[in-house]
Symmetry: D2
Subunit: 266 residues, 4 copies
């Protein structure tokens, strides 16, 4: 049964807790990307590629098994069908087809969680689909329709305030707003264009400080250093850059040193 | 828990019933193969392609929905990863990888049955995997391992007496032996090489008669016309040949005229 | 060396001749689409799929060989990389990557023409790339760059007056304007939206009449029946509809009955 | 015209020269494997993946351009169609289809050499196809047929004495026997099973010494240290292991220090 309860969401109560999520299982066949096992020792949630932008079945199974052993929540990192482009290119797919594509990916991942004795805990769009669903009603609605039909209890990780966030809430889905400690924001709370000077932070200490501020104060910085309000129930770490694991560990340590508890939502 | 109960199977009691199964959803994107909807009005089981040899998500969803509306049992038609070859070519894939490939396909199909409010009712190997698992212990065991891990209550459709049949039974899985009314058999109960004269029947009346004999008498013919014992709890119809729908209807009518009840196993 | 000679083109001299082209080789593996051999007996040019939206190597080789035997010109029907979507979906691929994608497809097809002792005679964009390159400078330029780099003597089949037409001419490439006898046009010479009543003609006699008018008079009709000027050095026939072969034969017969010579450009 | 001149080959005259080849362009989309540019500064021949086991068009173009700038010979590294398995799995493809697959890959690579103003200089089978064509007449003959049809002047890199070597020579193709300085051999001149102790050398100094011996003395070692005759007109270096570039440089330096000239064949 589809429930339409506008405004209900899982992130209503702010607190000194946050989720740390990372994209996982982004290899394919003989190709590797990121150090999946090391990252799983740091994060509370793992968004696992489901075969459309990355993630062959062997990689998926290993990620799901390793996440289960560590008590890390597994999410379905759903994408446009685009291995060659790693899901980073907008594809003007028909929304009904996109809904079926998402159900397929959700089901495939759930095959491995079933075998592992765990379950899929959330859904997050990847790459171009993440960006598109943040602004495009048709593709956002297609994603919402898939999750509603498959399991309306599954929350969506979203850009807070995005079109996807709004449509998902209106449809009665829970949403978990995501923030980025390594990015500057615009005055109205969006991500600053990464081509702007200062839009992307590389310094680990600065990222750690920004992570704590997002969770504790609910603010992020613009490129000019001004504070803007940002809601982040989950922080996205990146696994495919040099030093990603050490960087992720530092962020977690900084959060915990500030008295913030890191755990998966729900 | 894996149960090993040699000799236990679901087809112990012969009777005046049989399943009619057909391969379904064998299109991909803009390409079509077979008349899925018309065949669903005739058969009791539909083996749905899961994206590895055919079957994009839109096609899968349509098949699952239409099967659900008609009360037709849906099975996972699992294959080697080979869209270009339609799953008809042996691929020397590592058995562990094959197990993961099968779990992926099972899960993906289960995504659509979940949305449709039905469930996957059985597993059948397609094409080259069907033929290989009938004789090769490594690939047969990989298939058995996948079904055991995913859902040990799922029966496998198998060539009766094949390596897959034996390994599945030994592992405690139910098996449903499959027979072919349009094929001649060898004296020891295997399919006759299709290149032999008389190995493949095209005449609908002859196929109908053979279907009734398999179910009622438990016998099939060799190319020389001799009778050999054959166990068929499910008969496989082909959907991708000209006149396939009329042919299938004739077989069902002939079975019912002989007092045989057509229904899905289990 | 890239030549930039604005305004030079191969279609300067109108005459009572026209090319008939059809999309060919649009199957993939076990999937078929259209009756390639029958169409090759009717047309003067065949746009052969190169593996990105359709066209496995076996299909390509058969098309190239059969075209060579009949003296039909072979063109490279280049596409976005999108087998599942049959190249009908816009993909926001980076232009430099698109250029490389086109070179890859051109080269692959040229492998088969080399073996057949013929050569690739033209380039035509397929589906979403055709539509996009007609209006988008970035993707049009990417296509032009590929042809210029690969062989600046190869003409492009284009919508007359499109962005691709203009950029190709400015870069010194020959262009062959294409018209559609089964479609109505807008007052300014573009294709009418196919969802409008009367935008798509299905009646063979009407299509034949429209084909003759395009070539003889240089005019097509709007949905309201008004005449608009249209330049068509090549007419595109469709091979994937029921009755496509009979339809194509009728158009050729009508053209020849009107004294129009059908032959490939150049 | 197909020439059948049994026994004629390009490697008749041994001398103090050898080719160094490496597998190149083995990334795909966002995935990388090996340091292509650094390796191109060391080798004389680069076997470029053509999209079937690795190698998207962007990667292919970059490899071909960089090889051209350095005067490194480009070969087509042709494979079974198997991105997920990186071409390392035998696929029981029909030989006629395999021939077309090879022509497709040759043509695609030649698209980029044409743009670069260079040409494809040789053909080498990759992975499972390399191993299969060394022992299987059907797949070896399919490969030979493709090269003969495409360009009978193209030499094949082969295991000396393999079925492919023999069939290629009998068909009039030139062959370049390949040897491996990092592997032990069997007493009859084949590669020792890599699972045997001592079958794979990792020590750079030992590999350098083995490389010089193969070229200068025409001998390699068994796992027991016995010398066996081996013909190597080209030595295969591996690019996808840690330290591959330094290792490759050491081998080249050792060869040149021994008075051996490193250059591409032909």
């Amino acid at each position: 049964v589809r429930r339409y309860v506008p405004g209900v969401t899982t992130d209503a109560v702010p607190g000194p807790t946050v989720d740390l999520n990372v994209d996982l299982g982004e290899g394919y066949g003989s190709w590797r990307m990121g150090d999946d096992l090391a990252l799983l020792d740091v994060v509370s949630s793992a968004s696992v590629a489901c075969g459309f932008h990355a993630g062959d079945p062997v990689t998926m199974r290993r990620c799901v098994d390793a996440a289960g052993e560590r008590g890390v929540a597994v999410g379905a990192h759903v994408s446009y069908f685009d291995l060659r482009g790693f899901g980073r290119r907008f594809i003007d797919v028909d929304p009904d087809e996109l809904t079926d594509d998402v159900v397929y990916q959700l089901g495939a991942l759930a095959g491995f969680t079933r075998v592992a004795g765990t379950r899929v805990r959330y859904v997050k769009a990847h790459g171009a689909l993440y960006n598109r669903a943040a602004v495009d009603e048709r593709h956002a609605a297609a994603l919402v329709a898939a999750v509603l039909a498959y399991d309306p209890a599954l929350p969506l990780f979203v850009m807070g305030g995005s079109v996807l966030d709004r449509l998902a809430r209106e449809a009665g889905l829970g949403t978990v707003p995501e923030a980025f400690a390594d990015r500057a924001y615009t005055p109205d709370g969006r991500l600053a264009d990464r081509r702007l000077p200062g839009a992307v932070r590389h310094d680990t200490a600065e990222v750690c400080e920004a992570a704590v501020r997002i969770v504790r104060d609910g603010t992020a910085n613009t490129v000019d250093g001004a504070a803007v309000p940002v809601t982040g129930r989950t922080l996205c770490l990146h696994g495919d850059t040099p030093g990603a694991v050490a960087h992720a560990r530092a962020v977690r340590t900084a959060l915990e040193a500030a008295g913030i508890v890191v755990h998966a939502p729900g």
